[in-house]
């Protein structure tokens, strides 16, 4: 009991106190607490930096686009799977769509790069078949968002659908029978029985997704980045990494990270309140 508590203190709460660096000018010799206070200077510098709006916009757009694409698709997949009888087909669809979730980010990104490569990629092979010249997908910033989002959808849709399937299994069969007796078609039953049935689950998942909009993953964006697509692929998380660990500007990087954490927490709380108002379910209900 004591060891894990110490662990939480050291690896979760000490970093929170270390976040005071955001208000200091870090000096290696003086240490974190000995460095000079500079107040809000780091934040002011960051807000005035021309890169600021680009970062916020890239982070926000990438994240919202991801949610907008993956959230409905997972529900569609779950509803479709729920309509068909259990058999080999259903099981294999589930098994296959779930699989990519277990593949590492590095591998998914490598696959994406290989498939889209202008020299070898099968996608360009296919385009070439129709007489379209090869496209360097990763070298063109305009493609970056689509590649990011759709590779994400490819990886996570099956996994997310499982959660909805469990919710669908919990719907009272009597409701379906009643609807059938009343002569409702399959589509109508989906609309009026299934969808309301998974609403609570969907709301929670959406709240969590929207609440994490600014916390979009560093891992994938960083791997898909290259000097050519930076204008669209540089997000707050990757900027923090570069400022802090590559340029050793610890104070500035901490300030940017803190700004992000605070915005994210605020978003989560706001979205949660809204969700509660509208549907009566939120987190902590």
């Amino acid at each position: 009991m004591v060891v894990p508590l110490v662990w939480f203190a050291v690896f979760k709460y000490v970093p929170m106190s270390n976040a005071v660096l955001a208000f200091k000018n870090y000096n290696v010799i003086k240490g974190i607490w000995g460095s000079d206070w500079v107040g809000w200077q780091n934040f002011e510098l960051f807000f005035r930096n021309p890169v600021f709006w680009t970062l916020v916009k890239n982070t926000f757009v990438l994240s919202v686009y991801t949610v907008a694409a993956s959230f409905p698709l997972a529900i569609v997949l779950a509803l479709a799977l729920n309509e068909i009888r259990n058999g080999l087909f259903k099981r294999s669809v589930q098994l296959v769509t779930y699989a990519p979730y277990f593949i590492s980010t590095v591998v998914v990104v490598s696959m994406t790069i290989l498939l889209l490569s202008p020299r070898l990629g099968i996608v360009n092979e296919g385009l070439g078949f129709f007489g379209v010249p090869a496209i360097d997908f990763l070298g063109d910033p305009d493609y970056f968002r689509h590649i990011y989002v759709w590779s994400d959808v490819w990886q996570t849709t099956g996994y997310s659908a499982v959660i909805y399937l469990a919710a669908l299994a919990g719907i009272d069969p009597a409701l379906h029978e009643a609807a059938r007796v009343d002569g409702a078609s399959r589509l109508r039953r989906i609309l009026h029985v299934d969808l309301p049935g998974i609403m609570p689950t969907a709301v929670i998942i959406l709240v969590l997704a929207v609440g994490n909009i600014m916390a979009i993953g560093f891992e994938k964006a960083f791997l898909l980045q290259n000097p050519l697509n930076l204008s669209q692929s540089e997000i707050i998380a990757t900027y923090v990494y570069k400022t802090g660990l590559l340029n050793a500007d610890f104070s500035m990087a901490t300030a940017v990270g803190l700004f992000n954490s605070v915005i994210n927490l605020a978003l989560l709380l706001i979205v949660n309140v809204i969700a509660k108002r509208i549907t009566g379910n939120g987190l902590w209900s």
Partner: protein, 316 residues
């Protein structure tokens, strides 16, 4: 979806159909068309996920020449194992593989021990200050110090560029603590604790000889979650490690697959071309080799994973 509920829904559907026939509720014709569309949609989903995987696997079993010429689609061309030979002949990759095994095994053990150690006391109703501790733990899910402050802690503790840097800072997952705590709470009744105390059994002994055997399924799930996380992670290694001989497989993969740093001195043009072709092929084989362990285990654990998510969703 558990097998039980699956069976239940299928039997209920079957009775539904029987009753439907008995009561002469005819399926509207639109339903049949609709059902066809559903099947079609699912087939499309299946194809979209499966084809890229097939393409990678097919390429990995082809000859270097066929891969470089782009002649491979979804079935191996000029079947060869050259790619795999190249993978296992590369010392970086083998070292990375061994490192990853070490991190996964040791990291999982450490994580599970710590998770049980915190989750069990938190599940007991007799613990003073239980809710305060739980709130403090949950709060770390919502708000973190950030990358740099965490990095500085790791630096101060002196873990930089050691194997422990990949194991200790990420040892406990809040989500896993919630799952474990909920499980302990539902599976270990208070009466059991009281009975054992009457028999003069200490807390630690009780935990060891009663709780852990009862919680085996949950521990297996949590261990798998940690293991897969460890196997697939690269970011910690990227920031905390400098020595190449400590690199886990994922970081080696990144260097070879994404940064294209495939070491090998070139001599003349034909050798360069061959090397290039082999390097192309190696990528496909490497992807297969890196993902196989997880994909082999996954069909057996997918069900438990889902259960874990469900348990976590019902906060105790």
């Amino acid at each position: 979806m558990t097998a039980l509920s699956e069976a239940r829904t299928s039997t209920s559907r079957r009775t539904e159909r029987r009753e439907a026939r008995a009561q002469r509720i005819r399926e509207p014709r639109t339903d049949r068309i609709f059902l066809f569309c559903v099947y079609l949609l699912l087939a499309v989903f299946l194809a979209i996920v499966l084809l890229p995987l097939l393409y990678i696997v097919a390429s990995s079993f082809s000859s270097p020449e066929a891969v470089s010429a782009g002649r491979v689609s979804f079935w191996p061309v000029d079947f060869s194992l050259r790619g795999y030979e190249a993978v296992f002949a590369n010392p970086q990759i083998v070292q990375g593989y061994l490192n990853s095994l070490f991190y996964t095994v040791v990291g999982t053990i450490v994580s599970v021990v710590l998770t049980v150690a915190i989750a069990y006391p938190l599940s007991r109703r007799t613990l003073v200050g239980r809710n305060v501790v739980m709130t403090l733990i949950l709060f770390t899910m919502l708000f973190t110090g950030g990358l740099i402050p965490t990095y500085l802690v790791v630096q101060q503790v002196g873990l930089l560029d050691t194997r422990w840097a990949l194991i200790v800072p990420q040892a406990i997952g809040v989500w896993q603590v919630i799952i474990a705590r909920t499980y302990f709470r539902t599976a270990i009744p208070d009466e059991l604790v009281e009975a054992s105390q009457l028999d003069g059994c200490g807390d630690l002994r009780f935990l060891w000889s009663v709780v852990i055997p009862l919680a085996k399924p949950m521990i297996a799930v949590v261990a798998l979650m940690y293991a897969i996380m460890q196997w697939n992670s690269y970011f910690d290694a990227l920031i905390y490690l400098k020595s190449p001989d400590l690199f886990p497989l994922q970081l080696v993969l990144r260097n070879i697959l994404i940064l294209n740093t495939y070491s090998g001195g070139a001599i003349d043009a034909s050798v360069v071309l061959q090397r290039q072709q082999l390097a192309d092929l190696l990528k496909y084989s490497l992807i297969v080799v890196a993902s196989v362990p997880v994909l082999l285990i996954y069909p057996f654990v997918a069900r438990y994973f889902t259960k874990g998510i469900m348990v976590g969703a019902v906060k105790g």
